[in-house]
Symmetry: C2
Subunit: 448 residues, 2 copies
Amino acid sequence: MKKYNTACPSGFPEFTPAQERVRQQWLAVIREVFEKNGFLPIETPLVEHEENLVAKGGNPKEIYVLKRLHDDGEEGHSGNAVRFDHTVPLALYVARHLNELAFPFRRYVIGPVMRGERAQKGRFRQFDQCDIDVVGMENLSLLNDALMPAIIIQIFEKLKIGDFVVRINNRKILLGILEIFGVQPQKYELAMKILDKREKISDEEILEELESAELTGLQAQRFLNFEISNKNNDDVLKNLREHLAFKTSKIFQEGVMELQIVIHALKAIGISESRCRIDLSIARGLDYYTGTVYETTLLDDRISGSICSGGRFDDLAEIFTGKKLPGVGISIGLTRLLAQLFEAKILQPDRSSPTEVLVIAADEKYLSHALELGTKIRAMGFATENYLEGKKLDKQFSYADKLGIPVCVVIGENEVKSGTAQVKNMKQKKQEEVKIKDLEKMLKNVLE
Amino acid sequence: MKKYNTACPSGFPEFTPAQERVRQQWLAVIREVFEKNGFLPIETPLVEHEENLVAKGGNPKEIYVLKRLHDDGEEGHSGNAVRFDHTVPLALYVARHLNELAFPFRRYVIGPVMRGERAQKGRFRQFDQCDIDVVGMENLSLLNDALMPAIIIQIFEKLKIGDFVVRINNRKILLGILEIFGVQPQKYELAMKILDKREKISDEEILEELESAELTGLQAQRFLNFEISNKNNDDVLKNLREHLAFKTSKIFQEGVMELQIVIHALKAIGISESRCRIDLSIARGLDYYTGTVYETTLLDDRISGSICSGGRFDDLAEIFTGKKLPGVGISIGLTRLLAQLFEAKILQPDRSSPTEVLVIAADEKYLSHALELGTKIRAMGFATENYLEGKKLDKQFSYADKLGIPVCVVIGENEVKSGTAQVKNMKQKKQEEVKIKDLEKMLKNVLE
């Protein structure tokens, strides 16, 4: 007999049913908070025309394209590439629906993206991103930059993931520093990308990379060590305003003013400093942000990297629309975050089944009575399932145990005759006979 | 300037935000009913090893595979094919988690699948399927076959899609008919496939096809015309039991007995005959069902085809697991159904934004007051958005109108001084000043 390799393809993960239940609960919370903040749901196709993805900075080595297994040359099947993020599809969505949309356009999207990265632990080739973005027509108020952390904080507090902090910066401040240190403008982007590796490689390695990017030793040192470390956002802003660069670099000045507006708005909406803190080392060098940038850190050594990042971009879709569309957005890397939380046992799924009540027939003869009763219990509002296989009672109970179903309702000859049912509390291993008319009250007591 | 084709790739549709809001509401209902019936959520990767999809009957001409745009020969990127349904991934999921699962394994899955079909109106290459299946170890009670229509009926009634009927049959009855008419066994499958086209092509064409499949003219006629048409399920069953074939064909007899058990169970759980009716012409010829089969029809001329189909299969994953795993399942073709309902204007989305309250500053000076107020209103439980762009009042109101936001709350100098806000009911174009402390009650009145 042929042997099949049934494992998931490398980099394409899946969860167990118990984990998936947690993922579904998280998705519901994320969706709810996005909607409570007035974001519209959209969903774009998994694929777009290849050239559109490449045009907006996709790394061709990581882009997957679709081909048919046996291509018969029929038109329209080639040239389609799988989205690698939700931002380029957003640009295309806006281009496609430009005249139907109200601006500022606030949308959320939740779904998988694919990147053909080298497979390694914690790196997936397919993973879910949960994104919100606000896109303006011509202009977009900086106050929107304050909403992004505010929304993320609502979500993570509701999910009770433990202590976390959204770290915020403005790339213009870093650019200003490079300017004032006399770095040539064409090296700015590269220097930012190198700074972005700060949490992955050592300071020595950063310095080496900066020097091989042709910054002088002194420039590299000063860039790496530029930091105004105060715990207090206001003090950081004060120090920034007093910094030499504030008078001599226009872009630095702009960055500080922008950051100040955002921090003040965060105060107005009651966000505490322990939740959103200025961190001048945040560069987001690999993305195309032009102002505010965010990274979110879970204050737990077992979870590495940013769990939610984003920023402001001057230009979303000019090449597609001919219009200036500035925006700001943030994205939760859901799959990676959940996988880490499960792995570290920070998140421990309790049960895999949504079923609250398993209805059991003590004898196969009473299966259709049990079906009827199951329908009745479901109509009371409980998630209800019938065990239909006509197995022995202990087998049926162990099925409930394996799935973590909290209550079994059993009927047999006596119960059918007397209009009762046996209610078994699976945790307390306690069984009680109740009249069918009292069943609803009884189940509410046990399940609440 | 380069011109980009920003349209969705052919066959890969997307909805407008207003339509997407409906889709999200539908998904929530479908998910809720699946869970109320005790089905576990799972989610499998979008791709599986190519040979596994081909092994389980995927049409190679319709299977998409993933390649990287610039393949550097790195391992693990090729040989991955996109799922074309949720049944083969279910088989693989069961194989991967065989020892962790409790049987019967009841799972639901909601998500996109891809088929490289010829692009045409109403045919998509990417579309969502919402599937439930119950998979047994070695055996699976026929009562599960009654649950499928029962669950689908709960969903479609909750979604208020109008009058519909789940049509049910058992393929063994059709096989028995072919047997009794003397058709050679190796022609059974083809004959079923041809019968399956019944609603798409004329009877003459069916007869022609049956004859070119080497049925005699008489066999073809009799097969096509075999029908016991009664409105009443019990009468149909009675006629089937009295049919000549019942005595002479074992498989026919089996089919009738099975159908009878399912119909009796449907009665026990209170499903009315107007919702679930025997239809002996249902063949599901293109799928690999072995017993019960379902199709669901919306009783509206504008909606064509089955909106929800499924059936029983003897063998889910024997080639992957070496075990006998019979199952029964049903699937809603969500994308196609929604697209048709929108197209026919049977479903008319009312508004695109989830926002209930838009908070507006009459003057830019009061934007941070407005932000504070917005946070307060959101904490009351209303979906709340701040308009932050500092535009004139009429521009802000027309933004609310375009999105269908029902209420605007406006604050300016007077309101900030007197601790009040203006509440504008956008439908009635009525504005009223209220004290902030009375705002919650007032908004509840307007929004409920």
